[in-house]
Symmetry: C2
Subunit: 544 residues, 2 copies
């Protein structure tokens, strides 16, 4: 905790200050836009961008993570809250802080229980599919704000502002993707285009008094720092628990994946359990300061990193600047057209639809590409909450399928040596009555059926077999189900006049097996090595 | 289908006839007892023992499986049905057949979708824990029938009949466990004790007219074969679907485990998908003949096997005998005291509490023993339906934990050879600047974190490392997440002036990798073998 502060070097300061300022300029429009997406007043988005990053700087493990509101968690918050209270009501705002508190507590509990490893159980394609599906939902949801007036009728001035903003943002993004040479000032400058577009749209709306002609604008933002302390409704805790679990999972998985890829690039490490604590603390801090669920943002973290951030001081600088903005008069924000904010959101989430990754997955591994498509389709068809569950189910399905496919090779003796190699890939000697199978995996309930099936398959094509030798050199562990399988295989083979032998069983495995009934029941022998088995069975000297 | 009938040999007939008769004598008391346990009239248990085994004989794959009512599925049926209708009502009986129909359709659908492999995903200890928990619930639930009269007051005659029956059955069971020598007639004769005890209790109750003194008795059983055709309530289909899924899962898993262990002992094979079809057909047949969910019974199947059954003809014989019993006058069954049936159930389920298996698991593998205890405790605390779910969750937890522990070994060169061995277990040569890791598993999202963690762990203890060589000879597959992990590892190591190399990548894996960005990004080299890597890095000739 705060190790970065103790080892702080003066040469890190300039980068942190610059990055902090740039991220603050991103956060003002993004924070307000994501608050609107969550059904909350725009100020909540600014509140959620002050204390949460400070808490993350104290407890988190990533150096360049930018914590604050994010599109997908905002959408999930809206889905959970709109079932319990009318959007914009006092209860709704209160429940948003309760949801952030529960999300934070869920994350802290998972951190305390060291469940960080769970993030590894959503495959990257499934995560990409989930993100893409959610991004499409969000973008489509922004279209009314982009094109219509308060009465939901198509409105030309609104559509003009929305369209021009969208075009400019898209252009900046396109340029950004091309100009990414090392040391070029372009990327960082282009990242400021959103703030500039928002500023220009606000100025135009103010001069032309567009709000009078029906263009929806932001309206007044209360001046002053966020209210501290928990707003507590006393109700709906139970109804919020399931959404908090799902949001907590999404917060962790998406944030972890952002932090991980940045840290790898910098040659640093992110500790999943530390990340859980940092994100948990950030959400609790948000709950205590009028916010809503927050997470590490992939795009803002990348900007933070690219703009030169060296330590979490950059996030403290951003938080300080946002606090300063709220402390000064905020009237200048009022004429901001919501269509411009909608354009910001659309461009931001469009970047989350990773067609290139889908194409690459399709070329590389059809099954992974299908998992990605199924998850994205699930999110689109059933919504973002059930979409998370679909993603987990798809990943678990892949897990089960993969775990049940152990490496097993039929082996034979390399001529003139004592080494045993795969018969399919090397010229080796085999004995007609002996089937030697090397099992390259622990033997456990997830693969016992596969191992049995493979033995039967090989026996079916080798009717002369009288001995089955399992080469156990790579078997690190056999669980109770595995021992039962071996005992039953031994009996079943004996019923067909075939002896089961084991060869080169590891000492640790052997010690455990000694406490089971397998050694007493085994009709064949325990050979020290496949070579010993080969020589003994070659001479017909075996027989158990 | 019916392959056994086409290849039937005359010398199999005697065994099938004898076993069929013995199983029929077991089925009369068991069927009625399990029907009462399910909250149904006793006749339903006899109905469920006629057509279901016939259907299984036509479609199933096991030679000696005895299909009919079973304690756990009866308890689960009662839990599902009692929420929808009062026990004993006409609606209740109708819903029981609907539940059997849905269970059968679920099983048939799983068979058609070839989901038989799913049975492999409940570990044996978890299954044993589930069974033990359910057995305790059932035994405790029988105590009122064993000890009290119709008004639920303790009743001396009832308790006497119950106690004596229990003692005799327990004694027979104890003797049975001891006298199991080959060719001894004892086991089969002792299996008839339950029928004898029930007969004696019935006779005693009739002579002493115990029903007049408040002892609960069976009452009249309608004479005649079961009514054919679906009793259809038109309601509650949706509410029955979830229980049907859970019961179907338990039917399949327990039946499959019984069939598998018997088949192994006989040197035969059971096809999980064929078992699904057989059990599905049996439940549909039960639904069409006034029954309730049925499954393969471990205890009856073992008796069937021990009594000499060779083919499903034995089950057809049992079914025929039961049909004959129902066709003749049934008044002689009326005075049967329910306390004696309760004693039958208690002794039957007591055998399902496998303390020896728990002890063996505890000695052999503490984690498996804990899974068993947690599942049993879950069933006791939350009931048998949620208990199934707990069992699956515990198994999945074990699956995830196991899948995330790939075999990884630091290797070095065996002196004077080109073979590379685990440095922890062999005398080998290593280079101070080179870390060679052999990965003995497919690289996929379930273990990428574990692989990364291991690399970092080894690097932390070898600060001089400038080259990391991953020996890929056992890596059969790398999924999209795995490729991303390797790309990020490559970058992260490069940031620390360490080169990542791959050695002995399989051709199939190499072909796929060629379509990814890894080959272009890799700072180190792709070596044909660890030996080539060793020689190149030894001479300092490498460098990417």
């Amino acid at each position: 905790m705060l190790q970065w502060a103790r080892n702080y070097r003066r040469d890190q300061l300039a980068g942190d200050l610059g990055a902090g300022a740039i991220v603050a300029l991103m956060l003002i429009p993004q924070g307000m836009a994501y608050a609107l997406l969550a059904g909350l007043p725009p100020a909540a988005g600014l509140y959620a961008s002050i204390l949460p990053p400070v808490a993350y700087a104290l407890f988190g493990s990533s150096m360049t993570q930018s914590v604050g509101p994010m599109a997908i968690t905002s959408l999930m918050s809206a889905a959970a809250l709109s079932a319990l209270a009318p959007a914009g009501s006092v209860l709704y705002v209160t429940l948003a802080t309760q949801l952030a508190l529960l999300t934070g507590l869920v994350l802290l509990a998972c951190g305390a229980l060291r469940l960080g490893f769970l993030s590894g159980f959503l495959s990257r394609p499934v995560l990409a599919g989930f993100t893409a599906g959610a991004a499409i939902l969000i973008a489509v949801g922004q279209l009314p704000l982009l094109l219509t007036d308060a009465a939901a009728h198509p409105d030309v001035p609104t559509a003009l502002i929305g369209g021009v903003s969208l075009a400019l943002l898209w252009l900046a993004k396109g340029l950004l993707l091309r100009r990414t040479g090392e040391g070029s000032p372009w990327p960082v400058l282009l990242r400021l285009v959103p703030a500039a577009v928002i500023g220009a749209a606000t100025l135009a709306a103010w001069i032309l008094e567009l709000d009078r002609s029906g263009v929806r604008v932001l309206g007044s933002i209360p001046r002053g720092l966020p209210p501290l302390g928990l707003q507590y409704s006393g109700a709906h805790w139970q109804s919020l628990l399931a959404p908090a679990l799902l949001i907590g999972f999404v917060v962790f998985v998406s944030s972890q994946s952002a932090a991980q890829s940045l840290a790898q690039r910098r040659g640093e490490r992110v500790l999943p359990d530390g990340e859980l604590l940092g994100l948990g603390a950030a959400n609790v801090a948000g709950a205590l300061s009028g916010g809503f669920p927050v997470t590490g943002s992939i795009s803002r973290s990348a900007v933070n990193d690219a703009a030169g951030a060296n330590t979490p001081l950059a996030s403290l600088v951003s938080a300080g600047l946002l606090a300063a903005v709220l402390s000064l008069p905020t009237g200048w924000l009022a004429p901001l057209p919501l269509a411009a904010l909608a354009a910001t959101i659309i461009v931001a989430v469009a970047g989350m639809i990773d067609i290139a990754a889908l194409k690459e997955a399709w070329r590389y591994d059809r099954a992974d590409a299908m998992a990605m498509i199924v998850t994205a389709a699930g999110v689109l068809a059933l919504g973002v909450e059930r979409g998370v569950i679909i993603g987990v189910v798809v990943s678990l399905g892949a897990l089960i399928a993969r775990a049940s496919r152990p490496n097993i090779a039929v082996v034979g003796r390399a001529p003139g040596s004592d080494f045993f190699r795969n018969v399919g890939r090397h010229e080796v000697e085999t004995l007609p009555e002996v089937l030697m199978l090397r099992i390259d995996a622990a033997i456990w309930f997830g693969n016992t059926d596969a191992i049995l099936g493979r033995v039967e398959l090989e026996l079916a094509s080798r009717p002369a077999t009288r001995h089955v030798v399992l080469v156990m050199s790579a078997v690190n562990h056999i669980d109770v189900t595995g021992v039962l399988m071996l005992r039953e295989l031994n009996l079943s083979l004996a019923g067909r006049n075939i002896l089961l032998h084991l060869a080169k069983t590891k000492e640790s495995v052997m010690d455990r097996l000694a406490s089971s009934q397998l050694p007493a029941e085994l009709r064949g022998r325990m050979f020290a090595s496949p070579g010993q088995a080969f020589r003994a069975l070659e001479c017909g000297a075996s027989g158990g």
